[in-house]
């Protein structure tokens, strides 16, 4: 084992890590936003909406993320062309991001739904008694309470997403894992770079999960 080539490769690895983090941040933001909308649809009293959201969640929860990534990578530009009638350049980054947002939304939806359901009905009734509309109740009362409760779960899911971003390797996007692998391949030290990548992932996600645990204790007081 010879790890001496790693320091020289750090700048390019760092660039890969930045891409990984971008995927993570945008993926979580988009996923939570879409997931919340889906959760409200699922809880709505309109059967059409709740069934639609239910189907969406079941659909994405039954297929592998890797399949979604590959699928979207090929299909998104085709679909965009179908809509706009022109070639729209969509890079691997965008299509992977779309895949993560749509896929993770199904998981975030379930977390948000459970969070909303854990809020006592009285809160809703009280807000309505004050003359708030359904939307206002949700936005001003229920969701803030629910998000406080489910923050640890959302963060845990985000750590899982952090690890899952490595799957973009399959479509050749240069994230952290792929740049480590590609450097290792060119230099002829694939093992060393792979071990290094594994260590970095471990340190980051382990410390993040420790922080989440601490936060969880604070929030549940």
């Amino acid at each position: 084992m010879d790890f001496s080539a790693i320091p020289a490769a750090l700048p390019s690895l760092l660039e890969g890590m930045l891409l990984t983090l971008q995927l993570l941040v945008f993926g979580v933001a988009g996923g939570v936003a879409l997931g919340t909308v889906l959760a409200m649809m699922r809880l709505a009293h309109a059967p059409l909406l709740s069934n639609l959201a239910g189907l969406y969640v079941n659909y994405f929860r039954s297929i592998p993320l890797l399949l979604v990534i590959t699928w979207f990578y090929f299909a998104v530009p085709f679909i965009l062309r179908g809509i706009t009638g022109e070639d729209t350049p969509v890079g691997a980054f965008t299509s992977c991001l779309v895949a993560f947002v749509m896929f993770e939304a199904a998981y975030f939806c379930e977390i948000v739904r459970a969070g909303i359901q854990s809020i006592p009905k009285g809160q809703m009734a009280a807000a309505q008694a004050l003359g708030m509309t359904y939307g206002q109740c949700m936005r001003l009362v229920i969701l803030p309470l629910a998000f406080r409760k489910m923050t640890p779960l959302l963060l845990q899911q985000s750590i899982i997403l952090f690890q899952d971003t490595s799957l973009v390797y399959s479509v050749g996007l240069m994230d952290f894992l792929n740049s480590a692998r590609s450097r290792g391949d060119i230099i002829g030290q694939p093992h060393e770079f792979l071990i290094f990548a594994g260590l970095v992932y471990f340190v980051l996600s382990f410390s993040a999960s420790l922080l989440v645990k601490r936060l969880q204790k604070r929030l549940t007081v």
Binding site: S12, A75, R81
Partner: protein
């Protein structure tokens, strides 16, 4: 109905007649997209040494095909009057390159893509840029001399290549009982070979020389076997886009005519190349000389 087709006919006739006058102004297809977005997206490879690969800078592909690709970018700048045309790079693999050209992600892919009739149904090819034979890379001590020696052995090839199809078909037709591993890219195929998982790696001969350059001990390896096919590489672009194809073809042909190609060839096949500074020593074959003297966009099977 009649009137309609008559009208249509007239319109077409007018369009055809006035065609040349318009053509100079009216951009279509890829050219239009490039002009409007100010960006051209080039497909490149990860480990197709020395055609298109990443050596030191992970954002900057290099290689023989890449240099030709840049010639096309120069031509595009002139043709469209866009001196600061932006270039965007998109990494492709053997398996993703065709769908990505088709679906509009990549405008032009110059790597190590074989022009063949089957692919011509899906994409268009520029004039040929290289000619190779598909052979085997193996350890000097492995005892493998030709394809017949592979019966019952583990053989690796890269998924999505012509070699993969040839090898799988050969295995089925001749009932050789080979175990075929399809790796994701040439780098991974070579890793399988180097780590002893496969006794041989079937691929385009020149790429095999490229892999040897990267090996820990380049002298341990050798390229053997009767070529199973001869293949002409071309740059890939979207089908039915003659205006763009013309720009690409002209740029490459001009590089051939001016003799610049010799310097580019020399740089990548007869001089040391990154990342390890080793030399492929792959002198220009008769077929390649012919390809440069008489540029053609036909595939090897059509010749």
């Amino acid at each position: 109905m009649r009137l309609a087709s008559c009208l249509l006919g007239t319109t077409v006739a007018i369009a055809l007649l006035s065609g040349p006058a318009f053509a100079a102004e009216e951009l279509t297809g890829t050219l239009k997209k490039i002009k409007e977005s100010g960006t051209v997206t080039l497909g490149h490879r990860d480990a197709s040494i020395p055609f298109s690969y990443l050596a030191t800078d992970p954002r900057q592909p290099i290689g023989y095909s890449h240099d030709l690709q840049l010639k096309v970018v120069e031509a595009l700048k002139q043709k469209l009057g866009m001196p600061d045309l932006k270039v965007r790079y998109n990494l492709v693999t053997s398996q993703t390159r065709i769908p990505l050209v088709q679906n509009g992600t990549v405008d032009l892919e110059c790597g190590s893509t074989t022009n063949n009739l089957e692919r011509q149904k899906q994409v268009a090819f520029s004039v040929g840029i290289f000619e190779v034979g598909t052979r085997l890379l193996t350890k000097k001590t492995s005892g493998v001399k030709d394809f017949a020696d592979l019966a019952g052995k583990n053989v690796v090839t890269t998924a999505g290549t012509t070699s993969e199809r040839l090898l799988k078909a050969m295995n089925a037709d001749k009932q050789m009982g080979m175990n075929i591993i399809s790796a994701k890219d040439h780098g991974e195929s070579f890793l399988m070979l180097e780590s002893g998982r496969a006794v041989a790696f079937m691929m385009d001969d020149v790429l095999l020389y490229g892999e040897m350059v990267k090996a820990r001990k380049p002298d341990d390896w050798t390229v053997v076997g009767t070529p199973q096919s001869f293949e002409i590489y071309g740059c890939m672009l979207r089908k039915d886009d003659p205006a763009f194809k013309q720009v690409v073809d002209e740029a490459i042909t001009a590089t051939y005519k001016s003799g610049e190609i010799n310097a580019i060839y020399d740089k990548w096949f007869l001089q040391p190349v990154p990342p390890k500074g080793l030399n492929l020593n792959f002198p220009m074959s008769e077929q390649i000389k012919k390809l440069i003297a008489e540029p053609t966009d036909k595939s090897a099977e059509e010749m």
